[in-house]
Subunit: 196 residues, 2 copies
DNA sequence: AAATTTTCTTGTCCTATGGCAAGAAATCAA
DNA sequence: TTGATTTCTTGCCATAGGACAAGAAAATTT
């Protein structure tokens, strides 16, 4: 059950005592997603703040040519929501879709705010999650600027090997900022290097 | 005086009434930076949450070769601090340096937290600023993936023309994810196109 | 298991951008 | 004002990665 996993997650990542964590998680509810099911669709307002306890979710948007560009991958133990849409109450420009069956628990915007208001601990947790996402995105942006595609690939496969078990390479390619053909060539090179 | 500008900023960007805004800003203090002065240095903890009322600040980091990579430009009417370092209390990997003389007002981490705790309105404001920064960064990241350098240049010159008045082109180039020579060529092309 | 669709790889050719170095221009310092 | 730095531009060549198309392989559907 995802709520239990979320309690653990909160306790481990913050100094919040278990009783408090349980209090926080009390207002969440469990949910399951099938593979390929949409957690969020572009044009709608992200209204679920969700904790993914198992599975893999991909966020993507469409570029001017209508091609999908992966903006993020979420694996177990991550908080999933579209920051801008969720907090500003504006339509999302991204889709969030399950790459695999997923177990999660969630809370709605309204409830989240009430919980933030009532529980300072949870507020801190929420801020930490935001800061976390920010830091990750910044790192990714920098890597797009000053690293080669192969280096980014190497980093990703080390950091989130799970993705490679589930997501098709074209999803991963656009996340790395390259085409699927380039990724294919990079992989050929890379695996040769690893064999030495 | 920067504090007055900050009051206006808060009132305009949020529904917060002027009295409340003044209450918030009361704990801030004005500060001035000379051109080239460091607001923050890598290795130190970002401890000032500052509102820039005039001038331009550049954030940058050093890549593996030791070359500067601009991570952001801040112009008047922006909140300036290194999110990750500030909230996690860890050393910054970025420098923040004044591109021009700057007027600003600021508050320290400790005081900010107290103010957040005491004033729900301010909390919301703080969150909005974070969400804002997040959304901007996301847009920039996407543009690095699916736009040409010239398109990014075009967008930047329209969005933040002030930067071009103050920052040397090499600073702008690395922000756009290209070399200064490439930027120079792009500018040549670009200005020819504009002349038609 | 056959048919269909999707994913992955590979070839050929092309282009945007990088690396380097040399001038030109502008800015700053003495 | 002169010399020293820094900034900006430009030329030449190199290269990472894109575009497109064709197979091969794998997964999905019937």
């Amino acid at each position: 059950m995802s709520k239990a996993a979320f309690v653990n997650f909160i306790c481990q990542r913050t100094g919040i005592p278990e009783v408090k964590a349980e209090e926080i998680v009390a207002s969440f509810q469990n949910i399951h997603f099938e593979k390929d099911e949409f957690i969020l669709e572009a044009g709608k307002i992200s209204d679920r703040y969700l904790f993914l306890s198992s599975g893999c979710i991909r966020a993507y948007t469409l570029d001017l040519e209508g091609d999908e560009v992966t903006t993020n991958f979420y694996t177990s133990g991550e908080v999933v929501f579209e920051v801008s849409s969720f907090f500003r109450r504006i339509p999302s420009s991204e889709y969030y879709q399950a790459e695999t069956p997923c177990e999660a628990c969630y809370i709605h915007y309204q409830e989240l705010n009430e919980a933030f208001h009532a529980m300072p601990h949870f507020r801190d947790f929420g801020r930490a999650m935001l800061v976390n996402g920010f830091a990750n995105l910044k790192e990714r942006t920098l890597s797009l600027i000053n690293e080669e595609a192969e280096t980014r690939y190497d980093r990703l496969i080390r950091t989130k090997p799970d993705i490679f078990k589930h997501a098709p390479l074209k999803h991963i390619a656009s996340y790395l900022g390259i085409t699927d053909s380039s990724l294919s060539r990079i992989r050929r090179n890379y695996s040769q290097k690893q064999e030495l």
